[in-house]
Assembly symmetry: C2
């Protein structure tokens, strides 16, 4: 990682983590609920979605302030999806990023409610933000609900469940990933573009970029699940194959998956180039995803 | 019930039920998810929240059209809360309105996701609506997320869980009801006022009205749980007391609960009077709540 990217990431993570704490602490809510919400938010993670949003804003030469509420909303929605995914009736995971999962600490009922709370609060944060214009707020709220809801992330989770324990073709696999993880990544990128003041041509370029970036991210995750070590992944290697989940290497072979990844990385960078913006940070983030499988 | 109120309710229920079907059927989502979402939406219920919204709009002499998306969103959020409340780790209910609960039909994982989908979609419906002005949309989305989220309905559900199996005082009991059911009723009323074009004085009156109406609704529910029959309630009589839940009759005695109810009904009607609007339908709905305990 270059110093520029490292500095960009550290700086924004700090702002973000501080504001996440603030947002929970100012809630007028039962303390156990706030604890349960904060627990999974603070469990860390790469904060890739907020960082993408900030990196897009940066490409417009805009300050991070206007994107802060939306990036917090993004991280809350991402976290809610993990809390619900980990539940016994879903993936039944005891550990997440090396820590006991939410329901292991707070019980199943509280984990469901903490997830519901994070999801709902994220809309409130955007609606209440003082830095966004009215038109931007509506566009962000519309796009976020579409990307996170039954036409987006929830659809992907359902398709993933329905696809377990049977062999999937590449198009089914892509449907799952485009929806389960891709849509929220797309929102991260497009939110940055909306707040940055993109024109419709630039929005198209960023949508293309996010599509290819999202698939790259998933493919590299699947490759790492075969070749990586537990420390890099934060979860046991081979945990997906162990549950008879179809993955890119299982469908395309490891070599095929690597070729597929290269293709998407190339397309992502091409789309970035067409924005006519200074997309250096975004380009470096894209490289980072490609490189982590080596 | 008067003919006027009966006609008002039947007419609006028909519009609402038709639009609920439309909203699900036009979703680009896995069919099993759409089925699970539709199942609980179609399970019926009194549609009291949308009707309140329409009744407030009516008091401004406004047509229902502008309130339709928001009333659908309301019913979706109410339904999501029931689906999640019924889950085995929460209330563990097998029946709701005489039909098997969502998780009994679709399984626990799908019920969680159907709830998540309903909650998220409700924000999308308001954000995408063509009849509302930008400022109204933002105010509706802000208020809805606040009333449904960790400072509203979710807080009430947590407090309710935390209060189980111990005796509650009247203020704890009111905290639970004001949050668990009251906040969303308040949103129903205020949403009608926002869409109707209320000034700030009228908004205050409607907020007062909804506060007292919400508590009336809960007290009459608790009284019916002691005195009513199963057909009226749609759930086994005494089911709350059977789980050692504190109720208004258990805290105030049956007579005390009835007095409390009269007081809140009176205050609700007083607030209505102060709006200087034609609140005949709202007044009749208030009477209906008072009367159902006799």
């Amino acid at each position: 990682m270059t110093d520029i990217l490292n500095d960009f990431m550290e700086r924004h993570k700090e702002i973000l983590n501080k504001e996440l704490k603030n947002c929970i602490s100012r809630l007028d809510a039962p303390s156990i609920l706030k604890e349960a919400m904060a627990y999974s938010l603070e469990a860390g993670g790469k904060r890739i979605r907020p960082l993408l949003l900030f990196a897009v804003l940066d490409s417009f030469g805009k300050k991070s302030e206007a994107g802060l509420a939306t990036s917090i909303a993004l991280e809350m929605i991402h976290t809610y999806s993990l809390v619900h995914d980990d539940l016994p009736s879903m993936d039944n995971d005891d550990l997440r990023r090396g820590k006991p999962t939410n329901h292991k600490v707070f019980g199943e009922a509280m984990a469901i409610l903490a997830g519901d709370g994070l999801l709902t609060y994220s809309f409130q944060l955007i609606a209440e933000d003082q830095h966004l214009q009215a038109g931007q707020k509506i566009e962000l709220l519309r796009l976020l609900s579409k990307c996170a809801g039954p036409e987006g992330m929830v659809a992907g989770q359902v398709a993933d469940m329905e696809g377990e324990n049977r062999e999937l073709g590449i198009s089914e696999l892509e449907y799952i990933h485009i929806h389960k993880t891709g849509k929220l990544l797309t929102f991260s990128v497009l939110a940055g573009a909306i707040i940055g003041g993109a024109d419709s041509r630039q929005l198209d370029c960023f949508e293309q970029f996010s599509h290819h970036l999202g698939l790259s991210f998933q493919i590299s995750d699947d490759i790492l699940d075969v070749t990586g070590d537990e420390e890099v992944m934060g979860k046991p290697v081979g945990s997906d194959t162990g549950r008879d989940k179809s993955t890119y290497p299982s469908v395309l072979t490891l070599e095929g998956a690597r070729e597929h990844l290269s293709l998407h990385i190339e397309e992502a960078k091409k789309a970035l180039g067409q924005t006519n913006l200074n997309t250096e940070i975004l380009s470096q983030i894209t490289d980072l995803i490609a490189e982590r499988t080596h």
